[in-house]
């Protein structure tokens, strides 16, 4: 019973550790903006802590670089479970525009498993709050994969404009199209 209570309380007080592994600090500043009174994420119970051993969520931003990847992995292993990882910004989600540079290994998920992705360069503070609300369960997520097909195979032989219906008969009249 106590265990159930503890698990239910997990969503109401997330303690956050911020780990920047080589980014430009744009997303850092947006995360700091989220903690200010205007956007105030503390109403969800979120607090910034200074040590990964106290934290539940690790906010990663910046791509995984060759020099900081070991430190990032150690910070991840220092967090007690249950834990979540949020990858904030395009660099952490996919490597950013530096993905093929000599010192960048790639996105953060090549080093540690990521639970939630927040793309953007930098993501707006509202986007960060929205993703946190999705993680906690307050709102539904707004994205889904999209697949368009311009035409279905097999290709029709007749252009629909050239088919004219007269009663039961459908007549094909070839007009001049370019």
């Amino acid at each position: 019973m106590l265990k159930n209570l503890c698990q239910k309380m997990f969503g109401r007080s997330l303690w956050v550790y911020h780990a920047n592994s080589g980014g430009c600090n744009g997303c850092d500043i947006e995360v700091l903006n989220v903690l200010t009174p205007y956007y105030d994420v503390e109403r969800f119970g979120i607090k910034l802590v200074g040590s990964p051993r106290h934290a539940d969520v690790m906010l990663c931003q910046g791509p995984a670089m060759r020099s900081t990847s070991k430190a990032l992995k150690r910070a991840y292993e220092a967090m007690p479970s249950p834990k979540l990882v949020f990858a904030i910004g395009s660099c952490a989600c996919g490597g950013g525009i530096w993905f093929d540079s000599y010192s960048v290994i790639g996105p953060v998920e090549k080093i540690i498993p990521v639970n939630y992705y927040i793309p953007g360069c930098p993501p707006r503070p509202k986007a960060i709050i929205y993703a946190v609300a999705v993680a906690v369960g307050l709102v539904d997520k707004k994205t889904a994969p999209v697949k368009f097909k311009q035409m279905e195979f097999p290709v029709p032989q007749y252009h629909p404009d050239e088919l004219k219906g007269e009663g039961d008969l459908v007549v094909y009249e070839k007009t001049e199209h370019i």
Partner: protein
Amino acid sequence: MDLNIILLILGGLANVFIVLLVAPFFQGLLRVITARVIQSRQGPPIWQAYYDTFKLLGKEDIESGEAPVMQRFATYLSLASILTVGCLVPMGFRAPMNGAGDAILLIYLLTLSGICMLLAGLAAGSTYSLVGISREMMTMLTLEPLFAITIVIAALNTQSFRLDTVLNGAVYQSAGFPVSGIIMLGVMLLAFQAFVARVPFDISEAETEIMEGPLMEYSGPKLAIFKYAQMAKLIVFSGLFIGLFVPWGSDLVFPFGWILFWVKVFILVIMVTVLAATHARYRIDQAIRYFAALLAVGVVALILASNGF
């Protein structure tokens, strides 16, 4: 005879239970007032400290650090020493176990709760922990004598160390005009923030400059116990302060005396909150200078008290 002892023990346990129940509420109140009144934002819900504690109890316990056995010992000792002080402090009623100890025991127990933080940092053994505990040691050396001076002045005035006389405004009961009592009231008001370890004086524990100091290596349930001990310190120290300096009205009939006690605690917590939210943290050398000045004034008060004032 036995019934008396059982009643005393039950009274002590009731005190402990009240402290455990109410401590996170006052912490939540502190955070809400900081947010809503001073920082113009909507803060966390008022029950947030309860959520935090339950969440921490459900996390995995990673035993890192140099000496895990000492870490466990330090954790349990910190909460235990504060709760024992809670048994001795009158909270609206008479002190439940005042026959079991006297004022000297109180001083030692308070020093013990400070030493727990030192043990915790030493057991963890990382560099940041050691820096944190060296600062905590410096703070303790200059702060604990203030409390001891107050108790000694109270004992000098009433010629007894019994808790129910000392914690009943005995500082004001000197032969002449209670100059030393009023001086100590001022000194303890100025030093109260440091006893409960909040900004601007939380130099050693839980600060972002040295990555949370001695508590850095604690996770999950042990961290919950440490945070609980810090929350309980606020209430227990408020109770001590009220007992020493503002005890008037505690001998009213049952509901009113008890309610008056909690109103006084509320006022003290609001004072702590406003000071904590509007000030920045002191550096260790600024803090030591401040405490040394207070200590000098305290010694002057002690000299005055021993001469009858």
